[in-house]
Point group: C2
DNA sequence: TAGATTGTTAATCGATTAACAATC
DNA sequence: TAGATTGTTAATCGATTAACAATC
């Protein structure tokens, strides 16, 4: 998490996929792995793997490849998975609940410390050991828990309003799962989490394969 | 959905965000909008907006900008949101259920036609009007409904096994929400849906803003 | 007509790939 | 030593940005 700073999204994505693949290799007790094997499995070029690993700061051994466990350690560090940041979830409907109960966020540097909703059927419940508070209590909970970021999973109609409340309470890092455009000042970091483009990408991949087969 | 075919992910993402923003403008009865206004709101350069719109195939009017409703129509078509593809969801735990109940997939070209699980508490239930079947029935249901793609939301341990079953049943388009590396033949289109890199990106954005403020 | 904004052509920048020398 | 694979330096490619002419 040091030398990040305008690292391209593409490297981050590839690095995450290296991680998943290497974890598999580690479980299978593979000790060293060469770039061309990683590349082959992930369907990219070996030179790209080597370039990425260079960026990440891994050193390999000629003739051997890279040490799997070393790689895993450095990747985790590079992706910031070794430091934990506190998050709250606003909106505990279906999606909010499923993120609340996703235990693995901790692996990826995130700890969910509270949920919020206004539905009386949900408020007061616990998901694991995470309390779901009424949204009106948000000020106190934020003062208490000091979360760095908020995950937004509210209905479209209230997304903007909730965002403004968050900013007012000094939560300026927002992971927005609502498919809606948020107006925020420049000091606020918003990550728009939209599933829609992935559907298009996936169907496009399918068409490409289809086309190639016909030839 | 015509001239797609190796359109970059970056354009798809930006186009989706144009869509959300323009929908807002449309609701506010804005008729024409110039590229520099879109750019300003989305924090990018006007020339990039114009280049993207050119790629998408929109024609604007000098001095006026682009007609919002026309833009929305063309973007929807470009992103393939006007044709509907059938999908099944494998694994109806928390995440699977929340995807099942996400009614808006239809807007983005996807219709969920069935869910599958092995948990007796879940099998036989309905989510909206979508049945959840036992995984053992998958062959019949696929024959019946003919889905193009499968959404994978199963536990890590069984992801590979389930994938192989799907391929065997000729479902070769897979949207994988399981943070695990899948081995598949080249004729299968997999979209790895990993949330982890977005956390890193978001925290990175935050740090960049922080750094900039200090100066 | 003058001014604003598009659309096109060219320049720049960054990311990917290639070539090859270094090293185990 | 010979061979395989890394790491480095250079070439290519694609995406972004700039400059400006076309047009309403």
């Amino acid at each position: 998490m040091d030398n990040i700073g305008r690292i391209s999204d593409r490297i981050l994505e590839r690095t995450t996929s290296y991680y998943h693949f290497l974890r598999k290799m580690s479980i299978e007790d593979v000790d060293y792995i060469p770039s061309n094997l990683i590349a082959e499995k992930l369907n990219i070029k070996p030179i790209q793997v080597r370039k990425d690993l260079e960026t990440i700061g891994v050193i390999g051994k000629p003739k051997m490849g890279y040490r799997v466990n070393n790689l895993l350690k450095i990747i985790k560090d590079f992706l910031g998975w070794n430091s934990i940041n506190k998050a709250i979830i606003i909106g505990c409907g279906n999606l909010g609940q499923s993120l609340l109960s996703y235990r693995d966020f901790k692996k990826y540097g995130l700890e969910i410390v509270a949920g919020f909703d206004i539905n009386p059927e949900v408020v007061g419940n616990k998901n694991g050991n995470i309390n779901i508070y009424h949204f009106s209590e948000i000020k106190n909970v934020i003062t208490d828990k000091e979360p760095l970021l908020a995950i937004l999973t509210v209905p479209e109609e209230v997304a903007q309003e909730v965002t403004e409340k968050l900013i007012q309470l000094n939560v300026t890092v927002i992971w927005n799962f609502v498919p809606v455009f948020l107006r925020v000042p420049k000091c606020v970091a918003v990550q728009q989490q939209d599933l829609a483009p992935f559907i298009t990408t996936l169907l496009d991949k399918y068409e490409q394969i289809h086309k190639a087969e016909k030839k």
